[in-house]
């Protein structure tokens, strides 16, 4: 099998200049100690997915995470008050709305976005993702309406489980979508679906902790948010370390992971992606121990930045390993 990583570009092609992206990437690719082989000509292959994909991973994580906690709280009989009834669904609706807009914007032909539903490809998670987002949008809107109108608990009883499933799928379906990007081996992890849900809990709890300041939450509700924030963030950090420092199923995945941990993304990854998250976990844990949302709010902010940074690395590195 032809392996494009066997002959990294180096600083220059023979007769043309590599695009800057390929040049930077090649610095993280090992040369064969025997052949010293170099790619001598290629065309530019810019990363098709950029900041919009990174951003929507965050926006829907916040929205889905918030609704996940709101639904869980309701099922557990914990009253999150306005945070659960209004803030969470508002985050959910806004998150899905912005996500949808970014997704459409990211299409090559945005004006054809309805083709996803009108000319569906049921084998594609583009299609199922649209269904998930549509369902989530409907359920979260209903939840929000119930919150604003002061609906009775029965309505929430009906909504809770579907909303919980929709929130989990909204956060996690991207794992399946990324999985369909065959050849992008970094994204092929079987843990990705679960990791996305954990990330959603982290940033959703962070946002709700911020919103919870002054909302008059009781101790149980506060504890739920602090526990979710702490454990979600810890879980994220542990899963990241497991993903990137553990064994990889392919050379391409290992190459991408090495690029993240030791290469061009290392500083950003370790300081912004992992360091910030670890700091947030520590702060959140402290707040949990103290039972104060005020301190947790700091962690709530930190995790937003940490996830954005992490996703920007994850999305870029996944596309950096040359396929040709």
């Amino acid at each position: 099998m032809l392996d494009p990583t066997a002959a990294p570009v180096g600083d220059s092609y023979l007769w043309a200049r590599p695009d800057e992206h390929r040049r930077e990437v090649s610095r993280d690719l090992p040369t064969d100690p025997v052949t010293q082989a170099r790619t001598t000509l290629n065309t530019a292959h810019p990363r098709p997915w950029g900041w919009r994909v990174t951003t929507y991973l965050w926006t829907k994580a916040v929205g889905a995470g918030a609704m996940l906690l709101a639904a869980l709280a309701h099922l557990a009989g914990i009253d999150l008050a306005v945070v659960g009834d209004v803030v969470a669904p508002a985050l959910g609706v806004a998150g899905i709305g912005i996500t949808g807009a970014l997704l459409v914007w990211d299409l090559k032909r945005p004006e054809r976005f309805l083709y996803i539903l009108l000319k569906p490809n049921p084998r594609s998670w583009m299609f199922w993702g649209a269904i998930v987002l549509a369902a989530g949008a409907a359920l979260f809107t209903a939840w929000l309406a119930a919150g604003i109108l002061g609906a009775p608990d029965t309505v929430y009883d009906w909504l809770a489980v579907p909303a919980l499933v929709a929130a989990a799928m909204t956060a996690g379906y991207t794992g399946f979508l990324f999985g369909q990007a065959e050849g992008r081996d970094l994204w092929q992890s079987p843990l990705l679906f679960w990791h996305l849900i954990v990330q959603a809990v982290m940033v959703g709890a962070g946002a709700m902790a911020l919103a919870g300041i002054g909302a008059g939450l009781d101790a149980e509700a506060t504890a739920l948010l602090l526990a979710a924030l702490t454990l979600g963030t810890l879980g994220h950090v542990v899963m990241v370390l497991f993903e990137f420092l553990g064994r990889h199923t392919s050379k391409q995945a290992a190459t991408a992971a090495h690029m993240v941990t030791h290469g061009r993304y290392a500083r950003l990854f370790w300081t912004g992606g992992v360091g910030l998250a670890a700091l947030a976990a520590a702060v959140a844990g402290t707040a949990w121990a103290a039972g104060t949302l005020l301190v947790a709010a700091v962690a709530g902010l930190l995790v937003q930045a940490a996830l954005l940074i992490y996703e920007s690395v994850f999305v870029r590195a996944g596309q950096d390993v040359p396929l040709s």
Binding site: D11, Y13, W15
Partner: protein, 944 residues
């Protein structure tokens, strides 16, 4: 009736075929790819022509849209026996050249100073009348040699020579001595022919002293046959200081120190002799070993066994250790190559054309040594071996051939270089400056000496001097640095816009290809009227053949000079010859077998050639030297003391293309009378009598001349290196491909290859700028650190470094605007780029998508002329010193002192020994000479 022919390049797989069948070539329907998924059919005529980019002359098939006569694309021509339907990137890129929005569409005349960038559109009539008037006056005044035609790559064999012979002008000048004159001398001395024709497909061992698998002459036709040979088990041996793609395919790759190649080959030869792994029967019959003994060992027994003993002893000094020391490679590698060669069973196909033979002082001896090895292994002329090009090339004759002239132009054939196989064209500016002559009319034909030749600033100084060159006419399809300094720029067509024929030694057969203006052919088929090819080409772009017909007619409008009669139609007395007339006559009378092949398909010969673009004349041509002479050939002959069979000649006789006038064959000791070789002895000359006769007897046998860049000449520790400036890219060709956007897109930079050990010593890394100093100046280039070149040697590819002085005078796909200044006096020149290549607006939207910026470095400007004292070949390799760029340096800078370049010219000129041969001959008659005069012309009026 028409039948579907069996084409050499047609291949089928199940129900698929690689080309449309010939029966559909007049109406081939394809759907418009850009309209997909709608099905929009277009009807095309598929009309063959010949590629105009490199010299291979591969067949092309143009898809001419019947609606608007546009050329949609060009593919390979499956009917072509040389290229067999295949092309390299340069063939299909012809369509870029046709559609280049920047091409020259109308004749232009200078209005300001030469090189000032001021032009006006002029009519063809005005231009022709002006040029014709000057030439006519020169001829009438007896100043024939004031007219010169300077061609880059030769056009149609014999065509322009025919024109110049009608004018009586010895003014045919070519670029050959910056290209292949080294190899040509080495090979001519052995065989009388000047090019090799290697039968790679049937070889057991393929030996390449070049990157021939990827570039070079006949690259595409040869590459496919080299791969065939490899697939049949042949071993590929490559000598190249650079790890080219060719070297990457080699079974044995040796990266010798440049200039040591002859030593390596002589060590192989010595090994073959020592071990007697030689073809004794071949050597006994075909070498002029008797002369070798008589000249070098007159006191020894004059028999073959003694010859073997003596020649073995004579070459004993060329040990593997000696070669390894010269080449700076492990001795085991030399031995390995020798063993592979020794095992070739007479099937050693070998090729050298430029490479070492064009790089080094004494490079011609590399070719001489190579043919020594070929001879010893009995690999000359047989299946899987190496033949001369003359066996595998076909040159037709035109109608009403004029007699040969009697002139001798010493601006082209100076006395200092009697054995130069070709014109000393690159010394022309120096000769003019020395007052050796002047030029009244100078044609540069698809040739760009300012850019391509060494010492380009001296060319500029000369071309801008109206006292040295009265009128400079640039015949060119595209702008070039040289055209910027012309008086007329006359647009000529690209490959599918002109007529001519071509034949090259691509394999052990013979073919004649036909280049034709495809739109004009389509107009013919569609019944559309035209006057000449200008009506079929864009703007007023013409073709050269019609231009020469018209110009000749105007030089001699009333026939008083005796010129016009050669340009009258052979079919309509008194009327001007058309290209149809010319080629109809050629194909009807001058190509064996063509009339019969055409008739078999119900066509005239011209129709056949317009249909297929090529005709195969012969296949499996081997051992022509053994062809017995016919009775007619032997009639009225004498046999001289060497066995040479001769017909009587006079001073008005003319030598054939190869060989001496009158010599037709050789009688062997066993009484056989065969064609032999076109050398003075009609044998393969291990002792070259011509060298002896022209005062260079010390180099009469294959030998080793230490190069001007030999290892001992280079002080590596002082920062010196050998620069290889000649290696080619497979995707570009000299300056011709500058306007092919697809080619530029994939090849648009050329860093200096530098080994990591040299980079470390010089303290530079990839992308660092370095100043590379030559003996006359310096240039500033960018470094690429690689293990792909041997230590001590750096290399900067050919093709790039294009520039233009004024907007509109060059291709913006490839060139950058520059300014020329004189920092230290008028004799000093600094070329500095004002900007690189950048996107631009034009009728082609792709021009706004240019994503490359590097115009490259015009390194040749900084090279002095290095004429080899024997072959006259410019020795391209440079002894340079490298240093990190200085603060004032900018990428692409070239600085030269032309006073210094004149000094270097004189230093190299001083190495020569001007001499006349027997009977006051200026040069050996047997060596091929373009536009040869009669035998009288070879002789000085008063032999000295």
């Amino acid at each position: 009736m028409s039948v579907e022919p069996d084409l050499p390049g047609a291949r089928r797989h199940e129900h698929l075929r690689n080309f449309p069948p010939v029966s559909s070539w007049d109406n081939h329907v394809e759907y418009d790819a850009k309209a997909h998924p709608r099905k929009v059919p277009h009807s095309y005529m598929l009309i063959p022509t010949t590629c105009f980019n490199c010299e291979s002359a591969c067949g092309l098939l143009a898809y001419v849209d019947k609606d608007d006569l546009s050329v949609k694309k060009l593919e390979g021509n499956p009917a072509h026996p040389g290229s067999r339907g295949r092309n390299c990137a340069k063939g299909p890129a012809t369509v870029n050249q046709l559609n280049d929005p920047e091409r020259i569409l109308y004749p232009l005349r200078r209005t300001g100073e030469r090189g000032a960038g001021q032009w006006e559109r002029v009519s063809w009539d005005d231009a022709l009348n002006d040029i014709a008037s000057r030439i006519s006056t020169a001829i009438t005044d007896g100043r024939h040699e004031d007219v010169m035609y300077h061609v880059g790559r030769p056009g149609e064999d014999g065509f322009t020579e025919r024109v110049l012979n009608t004018w009586g002008v010895d003014g045919h000048n070519t670029h050959t001595n910056i290209c292949s004159a080294g190899t040509r001398l080495g090979m001519s001395l052995w065989t009388g022919f000047d090019r090799p024709s290697a039968d790679h497909a049937n070889a057991k061992v393929i030996l390449l002293l070049s990157s021939h698998l990827e570039t070079g002459h006949y690259f595409n036709p040869h590459a496919q046959r080299i791969m065939e040979g490899k697939q049949s088990g042949a071993k590929l041996v490559v000598l190249d200081p650079r790890m080219s793609n060719t070297a990457a395919h080699a079974d044995a790759w040796l990266a010798p120190w440049p200039g040591s190649e002859a030593a390596i080959l002589l060590a192989v030869a010595s090994y073959l002799l020592r071990t007697r792994r030689i073809d004794e029967a071949f050597l006994r019959r075909w070498l002029n070993w008797q002369t070798y003994l008589a000249e070098l060992h007159p006191d020894a027994a004059q028999d073959f066994d003694t010859f073997l003993d003596r020649i073995t002893a004579d070459y004993a000094e060329f040990t593997f250790d000696f070669a390894a020391e010269e080449a700076q490679v492990p001795v085991e590698r030399i031995a390995e190559i020798a063993e592979i060669v020794a095992d070739c069973d007479g099937r050693l196909s070998a090729h050298i054309w430029r490479a070492a033979a064009a790089g080094n002082l004494g490079g011609w001896q590399v070719a001489r040594a190579l043919w020594f090895v070929l001879a010893l292994t009995g690999s000359i002329g047989g299946r899987g071996g190496t033949s001369p090009n003359g066996w595998h090339k076909f040159i037709p004759q035109g109608p009403n051939m004029p007699g040969h002239h009697e002139h001798w132009n010493e601006l082209i054939w100076p006395r200092e270089y009697p054995l130069a196989t070709n014109e000393l064209s690159f010394l022309l500016p120096h000769f003019l400056r020395e007052g050796r002559g002047t030029l009244d009319v100078y044609f540069s034909r698809v040739y760009n000496p300012i850019w391509t030749n060494p010492d380009g600033f001296t060319w500029i100084e000369t071309l801008t001097d109206p006292d040295k060159i009265g009128l400079h006419v640039a015949l060119t399809p595209t702008w070039s640095e040289t055209a910027e300094f012309a008086d007329y720029v006359l647009p000529m067509g690209h490959s599918s816009e002109r007529h001519d024929t071509h034949s090259y030694e691509t394999h052990a057969g013979r073919w004649l290809g036909f280049r034709q203006p495809v739109r004009r052919v389509a107009m013919d088929k569609l019944g559309q009227d035209y006057t000449d090819t200008r009506d079929a080409n864009p703007g007023e772009v013409w073709e050269e053949n019609e231009f020469w017909f018209e110009l000749s007619w105007r030089i001699d409008p009333d026939g008083a000079l005796g010129i016009t009669k050669y340009f009258e139609s052979p079919y309509r007395s008194g009327e001007k010859m058309t290209t149809d007339d010319y080629y109809r006559w050629v194909f009807e009378h001058s190509v064996p077998g063509l009339p019969e092949k055409a008739a078999a398909q119900g066509m005239t010969p011209l129709e056949y050639m317009r249909r297929y673009g090529v005709v195969e004349v012969d296949t499996d041509v081997y051992r022509v030297d053994e062809r017995p002479l016919t009775d007619d050939e032997q009639a009225d002959t004498d046999v001289d003391e060497q066995g040479v069979v001769r017909k009587p000649v006079t001073l008005d006789s003319v030598a054939p293309v190869f060989g001496e006038a009158g010599a037709v064959g050789v009688r062997h000791d066993d009484g056989d009378v065969t064609f032999g070789w076109p050398t003075p002895s009609r044998k393969l000359e291990v002792f070259a009598t011509a060298m002896r006769d022209w005062g260079q007897g010390e180099h009469a046998t294959p030998g080793y001349i230490r190069s001007h860049v030999a290892r001992r000449e280079i002080d590596v520790d002082a920062g010196e290196l050998v620069l290889v400036p000649t290696f080619r890219l497979p995707t570009l060709i000299h300056t011709r491909s500058g306007n092919a956007k697809y080619l530029n897109e994939i090849s648009n930079t050329h860093p200096v290859w530098l080994n990591s050990t040299d980079a470390k010593r010089h303290g530079v890394r990839t992308d660092d700028l370095v100043r590379i100093s030559t003996e006359i100046g310096y240039f500033v280039a960018r470094v690429w650190v690689t293990e792909g070149i041997r230590p001590g040697v750096c290399a900067l590819s050919h093709h790039m470094g294009r520039w233009r002085l004024h907007p509109g005078e060059g291709s913006r796909w490839v060139s950058g605007m520059v300014e020329l200044s004189h920092l230290d006096g008028e004799h000093t020149w600094l070329l500095r780029h004002k900007g690189g290549v950048a996107p631009f607006d034009s009728s082609d939207p792709d021009s706004s998508r240019i994503d490359w910026s590097d115009p490259g470095v015009h390194q040749n400007l900084a090279f002095a002329v290095h004429p080899d004292p024997h072959s006259g070949m410019h020795c391209w390799l440079q002894k340079v010193s490298m240093e990190p760029a200085r603060p004032e340096d900018r990428y692409g800078d070239v600085y030269v002192d032309t006073r210094r370049s004149a000094e270097v010219y004189r230093e190299w000129l001083a190495k020569t020994t001007p001499a006349l041969g027997p009977d006051g001959q200026r040069r050996p008659e047997f060596m091929m000479r373009p536009l040869a005069p009669t035998r009288r012309g070879y002789r000085t009026e008063s032999p000295e």
